[in-house]
Symmetry: D4
Subunit: 240 residues, 8 copies
């Protein structure tokens, strides 16, 4: 079976889907649309749904044609618009078989308006896994009253996501205001000295507030996965 067949390329139609990922890690493999044809997106979604018994299947950052192909093959997804790409086409995240609501709510804070797409992606992933997610935009530290006004929400949240570009200072400030786990997402928003997210990433890693941990630049999906791991400890019950 594992003999070498020189010249063979494992056929793309047989993409090696990681069907046991949710059982192992709590979050199933998702289909990342960029770089895939509409047909490949549809096939991968269908394959994940067929190969697993339950739980969410996600198609992320899908352009309209990709979303349409996947929905034509497998109807019934929830579709959330995340942002427009450079050509003005909207990018969406689609969810099949979302989990029923369970315990654990996330508060997602963004420093600016341009951080919203990353925040929306994270929120959609959390909701697919049954967790509530509140997004509060535009609470950057240049006007400190905005984040100070979130004190009550911070006290209630089970996990906090901080999404910020530029210098990423919001992560340090928020981490000093709450005892909840804080997961920071550097974004590539801003220009020049922001170095496409590297400045924010380094700032969050070097934060003076102990207890913040960081995921990759613009990686809203990864931040949500980290949050789902944290919230799983709260148990299976309804959260609302």
């Amino acid at each position: 079976m594992a003999d070498l067949h020189p010249g063979e390329v494992v056929p793309e139609a047989d993409l090696w889907l990681d069907l046991t990922r949710r059982r192992r890690t709590g979050v199933a493999e998702a289909v990342y649309a960029p770089g895939k044809s509409p047909a490949q997106c549809a096939e991968a979604v269908a394959g994940l749904l067929a190969g697993t018994d339950e739980g969410p299947v996600l198609l992320t950052r899908a352009r309209p044609a990709q979303a349409a192909a996947a929905l034509a093959e497998t109807p019934g997804a929830t579709c959330t618009a995340v942002c427009e790409d450079a050509d003005g086409a909207s990018l969406s995240i689609l969810t099949w078989r979302a989990l029923a609501p369970r315990k654990g709510c996330a508060l997602i804070l963004t420093a600016g308006t341009s951080d919203l797409p990353v925040a929306r992606e994270a929120a959609a992933v959390l909701e697919a896994y049954g967790h509530g997610a509140t997004v509060i935009a535009d609470v950057g530290v240049a006007g400190l009253h905005r984040v100070l006004a979130q004190q009550e929400r911070l006290a209630e949240a089970d996990v906090v996501l901080v999404v910020a570009g530029m210098e990423g200072a919001l992560a340090s400030v928020v981490t000093g205001m709450t005892s909840a786990p804080v997961i920071a997402v550097p974004t590539s928003t801003g220009y020049g000295s922001g170095l496409e997210g590297v400045t924010s990433l380094l700032g969050m890693m070097a934060s003076c507030s102990p207890g913040v941990s960081v995921v990759g630049i613009d990686n809203g999906f990864g931040a949500a996965c980290a949050a789902v791991r944290v919230l799983a400890a709260l148990g299976p019950e309804e959260s609302r």
Copy 2:
């Protein structure tokens, strides 16, 4: 009031405008057009005008459609063309409710012609806040007589802005020629070894002339804000 409403996204129509920023910091929040729809630009401008009693409201780096939408919603702005973007559309800065002229003049020097858009943006912001701003272009140190000819203007200026890409040497030279505060703006002009502004930024930070301070790459708006803070000390009277 601050209850968690899972799934809620603070609606974009309610962008959390920082209405007290001018009172706190001397310069009001400005609307940065790139990445916003024409309608969002118009709405943000109108919201800032409505939410504050007086003082300038700025829309920066606006493409024609963004400028038109904002002007349709709220007529009466001064419009300054700053540059053309990659597609040949002009980018402008629009000012509503400019302050009356007051004390304090800025001299803005650029090393080359391609630094002019950053200089023009800084000048428009300074003028919106009632300060005179003279822009002198093309006085880079490759031909030292050009900046030496500015000695008289340097002596009269209350604050000096130096806008330069490539190696940014103009900042060191100017800082050695004047006792006025000098604010340097690295620009991403040039190519190759300029590393999109990083070379100029580092050079200005490591300047052998003590007393220069630096803002982010291409950040003409930020440099003007720093200058407004400096000039505020001169008092409220007319400057001309």
Copy 3:
């Protein structure tokens, strides 16, 4: 009271201790010994103990003289040797008023032997806050059977810390093996291409395993703080 007294330096004897940090964030301010005199270490520890009613006070990376001075001023600390510094003096972490054991156990995996000091610091902080911490050293991915043998421990852990230098691949592998929250700590071990931890940091941030989050280079203290936030959700009971 807040009048400006020109020339005044807030006296060092009055170091502005953050006495409410544990109430706000779950983990109290710790005294970082490097760069402080033995007397300053002793004073800071005493000040934190006096200014708060309960909970751990930590002195981290203390050289023998610093540890001795703090213990002379305030006896009764638990002292854990962490590593030897370049001069052969041992560095220790000291704990006063450790919390009683409570729910929540951490598994700390290191890729190599030289990552142990960071792991030991993290373990000592977790134990000060009442959590169990098991350190398993030398399970780097060059010999995959070593980490595969930890499958059972990974299933039992409430949170996993992965401490690794070089390329940091252990974080990706472990994150794919467990549904527990995974906090990765890049270390500056290794030489040359490891770029003093930057290679490991970047690799962990770009991990192909969704759900891992990362703290700063060699920041075992910060990783433990993040873990304490996660474990707090499990409630106050004894864990053993």
Copy 4:
């Protein structure tokens, strides 16, 4: 003959083809299509075929018009589609005068689907030189069972190529599983913290698994050349 003729540019029609490269290094000069006109591609291919007696001539990363021009001038090539470029045009690798099959098989593993174009280019080069090449896609370490399932294939392979972006951890894991030479290719797939392949490159260089060696970012051609050098030691016989 070598007199200086000022102003002369060695005419492009006479591109200085390296006609002895295969004799010297085992692999002939290949024509890299990007940046060449269709006519230049055709001319270079014809020139290499005419200037050498035997052995493969390759045209790499050719767009349809470049491939068509070369085939019109010199029919008889094998054409393998590698990927689509940003504009949706397919890029191909064309082979004239492939060698007869000989000893030595390569196993090419990719971490993700988006690494396939680099893997396919490497496979086509190996096959042009008479070596078998099996590509197994999507065995990234986030789901370790996928690469563990390749143990048998790894034992049979004469050389292993690992193609991976993001953090490149697959190279460390595979190198620990086989005694065959392992050549790693970092790819620019992924986004943000992957830094366009630099993160993967650094991670592979700093690998904790001794014995892996690395070629440049996205350099599938170079990896195949390194593999051909290794396989040449096995002698000239048929491999199948």
Copy 5:
């Protein structure tokens, strides 16, 4: 006079002192002690005092032997201990001919205790030029109440210096709280992800708070020079 005398090195005893710098720029040339022999320090100080009629002459970062030599040659300096260097020797800043007090007070905030040496150097320079300088240490954003408690002092200050290492977030927060000019100084304190001050430098440059400007890493002297330029606009009267 300017003939070329091959082989001649302009003698070090004739160090080309910049005797007109204070007239040109408001701040005289200072003697930077590191790398100079005690005799060179003494000679440079004496030369600057002799070559100018009035105003401060400063010797910065002087080790005890350098300070002693300069004081032996030219008594009468004020000596301020700044920090201890790696060998435990104290570094000092010495001031001859300090100006009488004049208008303009600076508030210097540091994020941590280890930023104090940079803050003390800046304060000593400001005081040499007749300006009041209040240093408040340890108001980092991890405990936001500390900087919020400075609101009154911020309102009174004529210029604010923010000295911070790690992620440098204090600069963004303070700039949003005051309308005074804010000059930020990144420091090389911290370890690992702070990248010896580069993280803080980049974060301050990319700050979300418009109006902050930045000087080089650990450059307390440069920050003070920038502040002296700003304060000069307030006029010559006594400030207290």
Copy 6:
């Protein structure tokens, strides 16, 4: 005359041309076309011709519309095609009032075909100043016989320019083969690990061959200017 006229922008029609640059430095200011309108190009060329009595005026990297506008305003230029830009439009360098041939010949070697545009620009500038320039393409060190075959030309050349991307090794090899001054130009050709010219730049700076000096990435114009300075020492006579 030098009074501050607030709001004034030195009119672009009056671009501050550096009319004495050739007298001071041997090479006149050139007009760099990118970013200028066709009208601005025409005006700048005309201004430089009018403002100086003799010597070359150059318009570099001109697109067809820019070249046409300048030629319409001022006929009589020599036009050399350099390369095609990303949109397929040819970029040219135009020369007005080229100097008569004089002593001094340059040999320009390129590592690959894609380095030719930079080489052609350098050649055109040298010829405008009366110097012979021979371009030999494709002598990269991967096939050492190609550069070894240039030994005779290297012995005759008065100055050598080495244009190379990728790792830039050709500069080290050539510098060890000749006693002529060698000026190296790193290019941004290549992809991935070439880091857009930074790898080549660093390699040339760290060259093991003493005596090579380096100009900026892709800066063929600067390299030619450096060569003109070197060749000027040979005197004014005809070189052919």
Copy 7:
């Protein structure tokens, strides 16, 4: 057995030795001395010898006290001096149970004298595994005749290692001269623009000579391991 025992640190005396590494990868785990106490070195060597039946055990970069402790515990090693460290103590590599000579010879070329320690370490590892290794020092490309004189040796070698700092150009030149596999080792020799090996690493990765592959900075051990994998294909017989 795998139960969590909170607080337990897997005892250092039980360092998790990778006893099956040679069977899996062809090269056994080696003991890297830096950072280990003499006792730890001795224990690790003894453990590896006891835990495996045959084949080499290596102690690398051992200072005299470490070597002495290991030899006292387990006599019979071959000891090769590699270099002196910064304090003048010699660093050695010790080999127990070297393999009998077998087929396959390596040629190790260094660009300069200061690259010799890395070359010597690689040679000692190759000899421990039964392979011949010839080291030729000082054949850098600044004097091309030196490497050209190695043509005959290059033709005979089964694998070539190129050890070079500075710009690393030797790797490109050698790869163009031989059809043997070439493994390049960047070294941190040189200063300034060599960036402690990063310049050489990048240059080797971006080499214009297809077929070179690269290991980490100063990683002579890793290069030898890669070479052992390549040479293993030649079979088990004596090589001399």
Copy 8:
């Protein structure tokens, strides 16, 4: 003769001296003392003197013991102190068989006092090759009158070396003031934002003054070699 003798290390006593380098490149191989034992220094110097008929032999950056050993073996050198190293031992450059004076004078300008060691090394090399070299220290652009006063010397110089750390702006200014070839040397003086010479290197490469070329950080020897190549064109006669 070139047979492989496995295990052979070309004996260090037979260091492969590049005896034809002066004939090929105009400047002979020099002995770089750091990292060599006193005996190796003496042997290398003697070998170069014996292996060549005439022309200078140089020993650079020699500590007292290295200089003494070389002088004991081969008396008669000129010895120039360059600087003191970190331990207070003076570093010298020694010259045997200096050339008689010939045409061509260099002017060496430094921005600050701490750039003098690099300038002195360059001057000593130039003088060994018979060229006059005038060093003018401390003409940095912070006080522009200092470099402006060199106008006459600049007009007389045949080649100009600019040695500068920090932001390296002196190179741009000087290049605009002279038509002589300008060779810039970035130095690692300064601290923090100077990034150990990288800031200066990048600034010089991106200079707005066309015609400057750059050598490696602190590479005074390389700059002198480049200058010797330039001056050779002036012919062999006495220069004074």
